[in-house]
Amino acid sequence: MHKADFPLFTEQPDLIYLDSASTTLKPRPVLEAVQKALVATGNPGRGLYPLSLKATELIEETRAATARFLSAQPEEIVFTAGTTDGLNRLARGLANLIEPGDEILVSDLEHHSNLLPWQQLAQHRNAKVVTVPCNLMTGSVETGDVINFVTPHTKVIALSLVSNVFGTRSDITELRSLLHSQGRHPLIVLDAAQAVASAPLRAEQTGADFLVFSAHKMYGPTGTGVLWGRTEALAQLSALNPGGGSVETVKAAGPIWKKDPWRLEGGTPNLEGLAGLNAALAYLDDIGMEAVQSHTANLVSLAAKELAVDWALDYRANSANLLSFTIANIHPHDVAQYLADRNICIRAGHHCAGPLHERLNLPGTCRISFGLYNSPEDIIALKHTITELRADYAHT
């Protein structure tokens, strides 16, 4: 348990933070790296003086560290402003590949960020979004669930690796090879926002062509994210964010683009964000992702056992890092407010997963999610406070 690494708990020692799926808190090394970058870096790739060179080194060092984290290659790593930004950029970058009548598959598990960009793309290109219903027995989407929906018109398949409502992991590792064996080559996009801090993540082994996540879901700062893509997949994207930094030069005849991934990164990058991401990667590397996985899995298991709530969605055995629940006759917002007034932070609502909650006929749920600063004591405190909540509501 690493609570001492997080300065917030010095200021707020009684805080019980159970909303890491929304955003993680930041450890000291990340805060220090961000401050250092704000103090002493120039604009990367622009100047010949040390500050500018230092900025370039920082970016490429972060790219290499990200690649190691994903067991990938540096040239497969594109920096973005986060998961939503990455998915929107992908949708725009793939637009030229989408023809009228083409299909984009998503599941009904998806966060709005992995739904809306594809809906907009389909609308823009006169294509169709097709929804694969998740398997409610497992709370996930598997290769067998998806394959039945793939047609010759399917160009993109966009799915979440870990559900932000159920915490369940969808396994589509075999989907790409199965489709290729059938002569079909839709591009597979994985939203890894919830997966990135819950278990080791080896990009190619997921079976995806593209994978996106945010730094702030893995103890890094907001405003920074990663888009990983296989080299041949990145090559299919039109320039994601054309501008200074993405070209060698621009002639009268047109731009001479840089090689990937730099072709796909226009503008001055979020240097302090990347410094924070770099520090977060080093922090997690020190702990080891297997240890991180074990830590959150143990907390999920304990919470599932200890909390007397209504597991509206009972996937406790298969959850990576979070649990959703309701309490009879007490609205999720009332539960969350009661807990917030007592220094316990949870999330309540539909968690930006409207279609899923519509299918479940639930206006919302309460969600708890775990990070490196959580301990069994947090779960016991939550348990007791829920008992008090029930008593207070019964008393009125």
Binding site: H331, H333, D334, Q337, G349, P363, G364, D392, T396
Partner: protein
């Protein structure tokens, strides 16, 4: 433990005095806060003078919205439609006498928005 104000809100939410359906309603509207799932329906029946004869609500919502839906119904029953049209959402928040974040302020103001829509339209309408 809850504060007395919080207890009042929960009690009113759990024991509403104006919940139910209204036969021969003359003014009906539905409202929702789509981001949190609160849903409310107001039904009014006016008498021949245009005064509110009866008012009822049905809601699936958090305690803030439920309590205020009922408190608002009680308060509105003794006022004219023209008066209700001028009511300010900030008064809805103040009535509850508990601190409310911007997100929960929307829960408090949804009943008034819906009631005003019912008055404006006079038939089944929807906000949110």
């Amino acid at each position: 433990m809850l504060t007395p104000e919080q207890e009042l809100i929960i009690d009113r939410a759990q024991h509403p005095q104006f919940a139910g359906e209204l036969p021969e309603a003359t003014h009906v509207a539905e409202g929702a806060n789509l981001s949190c799932g609160d849903e409310i329906r107001y039904e009014l029946r006016l008498d021949e003078t245009g005064a509110i004869q009866e008012i009822r609500h049905q809601a699936r919502a958090c305690s803030i919205c439920l309590a205020n839906a009922d408190l608002l119904a009680e308060y509105a029953a003794s006022h004219t439609l023209e008066e209700i049209k001028t009511w300010n959402p900030s008064n809805e928040i103040a009535r509850l006498n508990v601190p409310l974040s911007p997100i929960r302020q929307k829960c408090a103001t949804l009943p008034l928005e819906t009631l005003k829509l019912a008055i404006k339209k006079g038939t089944v309408s929807r906000t949110g």
